[in-house]
Structure formats: C-alpha cells, structure tokens
C-alpha cells in the first residue's frame, strides 16, 4: 500500500478510535503516514467516522419528565407515592386509582383495536427480558409496588406457574404484565390504567396474531388475559381474576394475601 513499515491492519489497529489523546509516538506517526498514503485505509477511517457520527447523532432525546420526577423524589429521600398508596390498603388504593383514571381520561379512551394490538405485541415479547423473574406472588407484588401507580393483586392459579412480571407502556402510562405458564403455554395477565372507548364491564373476547384475548374493565382499570390456551380455559382464567378482584382483601404491605385459584376445577 505505502512504503511505510506498517501493514494496513497494523496502521488501523494503532489508530483505532476510542483510545483518547495519545502522545505522537513513533507507532502513531508511522500509522498516520501510512494512512495518508493509503486509499483503502483512508476509506476505512472515513467509514468508521461516519458510523460513529451516525450513532452519536441518532438519539438526543431527554429523559421523560415523569421519570425525572420519580428518581429525584427517590434521591430526596421520599418514598414513592405508589408505596404510600399501597400502605393505605387495597380498597382505598383501588378507589384512588379509579378516581385518578377518571380524572386523567375524562372524555377519552383508546380504541379496542389499539388495545388488542398492545396485548398481542407485548405477549409476543414475553421472552424479551426485563422485569422480575419469580414464582413468589409476594415478591412480584413488591416489585410492582413502586413502579405502577395502582395496587396490583397477583392471582395464583392451580395448574399454572407464576413466572414473574414486567412493565409496559400504554398510552404514555405504565401498566403491569404478570406472566404465567399453563401446560407449556405462556399466558400474560395485563392490568393497565386505561379507559377503552365503550369500556366493557363484561368479558370481551377477541383473537389476534394467533392468540386469544379476554379483556374487561374493572375498578377503573383495564384487565386482559392473553395466550394460546383454548378459549374456554382463557375465559375461565379471566372469570377467576375478576372474581378475585371483586373480593375484599387485606392491606398489601408486608406479605400480601394472594388467592389461589383453581380455574380447571370449576
């Protein structure tokens, strides 16, 4: 390539970016001389610079205000509002959440189509990571307690294994997804602080992207179960969830009470 003693690979290695300011050592000077006289090496570094600039310019967004408020509140020593709500007990918290939903979304709601797309897209991401992996409903409940602005009860189902949970974003608000496995089939249980146009109190059924969905509104929150189970089994799960949510419960501080449901023994 050039008359210098370095090969192209050696020159590229010596001048490889990310090393910070360096003294003009003989190696560096020789590599610079090589590149100056070598068209492929010049092209190599132009391409590297282009890729580096593309990454650098790709995302300059700011952190969401809600996140900023949340973490700064944590730093200032205050526990998060959601944790205090939990201490008030389920009944009070559900009322607060329901009231908040009514205030946040007085005249609007997302469409059914949007909800179904969200359910199935998030269900397909079941193995994408993030969240908490645990079969202990108390641990999963505690994990959600500081992360969502509503009280979440984690049902246990006989014949099904709790796998954990994670967050999802729905219309700009944080919702919960609890994950289960039934006979080798994954099932996602959604609880979202959303209102849906024509909000159904009764169970509503749909199928999308190869999955079945059963969803309903309860206490101002949108609930849904999604999976590949037979329709009647998924509906039974939804019924058990709804029944559980309708029962009074003790406070969720400490070890929360979780109902053990047996959807297959009805």
């Amino acid at each position: 390539m050039t008359g210098s003693l370095l090969t192209c690979a050696q020159a590229r290695r010596v001048l490889w970016p990310g090393q910070g300011p360096r003294p003009a050592s003989p190696d560096v000077l020789a590599a610079q001389e090589h590149v100056a006289g070598c068209a492929p090496c010049s092209a190599f570094f132009v391409e590297q610079a282009t890729l580096g600039a593309a990454v650098r310019e790709s995302d300059r967004r700011s952190a969401p205000d809600a996140l900023r408020r949340r973490v700064l509140a944590m730093v200032r020593g205050g526990r998060q509002p959601a944790l205090r709500k939990v201490a008030l007990g389920v009944a009070a918290t559900v009322l607060i959440a329901a009231g908040a939903v009514a205030i946040w979304w007085p005249d609007r709601g997302v469409s059914e189509r949007t909800i179904l797309s969200l359910f199935t897209a998030e269900h397909q991401r079941l193995v994408a990571g993030g969240g908490i992996s645990s079969g202990d409903p108390a641990e999963v409940t505690r994990w959600f307690a500081g992360r969502v602005d509503f009280a979440l009860r984690i049902p246990e189902f006989a014949g099904g294994a709790l796998l954990g949970g994670r967050l999802c974003m729905a219309d700009g608000h944080r919702g919960a997804i609890v994950e289960y496995e039934f006979e080798g089939q994954m099932v996602s249980y959604f609880v979202l602080p959303l209102a849906v146009r024509g909000a159904p109190a009764e169970l509503r059924h749909a199928a999308q992207a190869g999955y079945r969905v059963v969803w309903w509104m309860q206490d101002g929150l949108l609930h849904g179960v999604v999976g590949g189970l037979p329709a009647e089994r998924l509906e039974q799960l939804a019924k058990w969830c709804r029944e559980l949510l309708g029962k009074p419960s003790g406070p969720l501080t400490g070890r929360p009470r979780s109902a053990v449901l047996q959807p297959w023994e009805g």
Partner: protein, 182 residues
Amino acid sequence: MESPRPTLEQLLDAHLDALYRTALRLCRGRTADAEDLVHDAVARAVEGYAELRDPAAGRSWLFTILVRTHLNRDRTRRRRRESLAVDLSEAAFEDALANWRPARSPLDDAARTDVRDRVIAALHRVDDAYRTVVWLVDAEEWRLRDVAELLDVPEGTVASRLYRGRQALKAALERREGDMTA
C-alpha cells in the same frame, strides 16, 4: 481549591438524559424497561452514594451502576438466552481489520439527522455485547479503557467489540437499505 462534592441530585440532573438514552439502547428501545432500569440504577446509586470517593468520577460511576444493573438482570433472567459474543484475539482482530471491505453503498447519509430512526433500528438489531460498546464509545464518548474497566474485560476486547459492532451496524443498515429498494 477543591471543588465541592456534587450532590447525587446534581449528578443525576446533569446525566439523567444520557443515562436514559443508554438504558434505551441496552433495552433495545423498550421505554418501560428502560425507565425501570434507570429507576433501579438510581435506587442503587442512592444506597451507594456515600462510597463515591472521587466526585469527578460521578458520571462514570452512574453509568457503571446502570450497565451492571442491566447485566445482572440479564444473567438472572433465566428465560432469556442470547448467544454470547465470541471475542476476537488481538491477532484475529488485526485479521478482521485487514479484511475490511467498504460498504456496498456510501454510508454518508447514515450521519444525517433525518435517518436517526433507521440508525436506531439497525443498532437495536446488533447483539447486546457489541451494542453496549458501540453506544458507550460512539454516543457517550467513553474511552476504550474505561469501557474495559466497566465491563471487566481487556481493552483489546473492547476495541474488537467496537469494530464488530460497527460492522454489524453497517450490515444492518445495508440490509435495511436493500429492503427499501427491493
């Protein structure tokens, strides 16, 4: 005169945006997961702030917590298994540098601001180990040796991951270009 030690609140105020963007890259753009990752990292920072001896290292300390929190989650998340990066030896790295071929079409437009979404989408298709290094070095302007310390790997490994990550990004951009022109 020594500058006063910044409070954790001041540190976060200065670096939260960059932490969030990095969390987004680590979580492949999933906003809920990224917010949650930042939340957990800040919780750890609150616990460990008293141990921060060098105020000038505050930024790298925060990033280290963020990245390690992410890595720990990945390790404990049993349902997720990505193929681990096979790192190159120094000799193999030089071979790779020698065998570089220019992009099939010019990448000049990759640096334009109106193609940001394409670059981000391509970046999210790059394996975790490479994407983390590419983002920290190229976007957050970390030096290789600092990334090496953060990830607890040799500096040469970080250099080769940066190269392979950029190659993977280039390939992803070219594939996308091919999809659009097909």
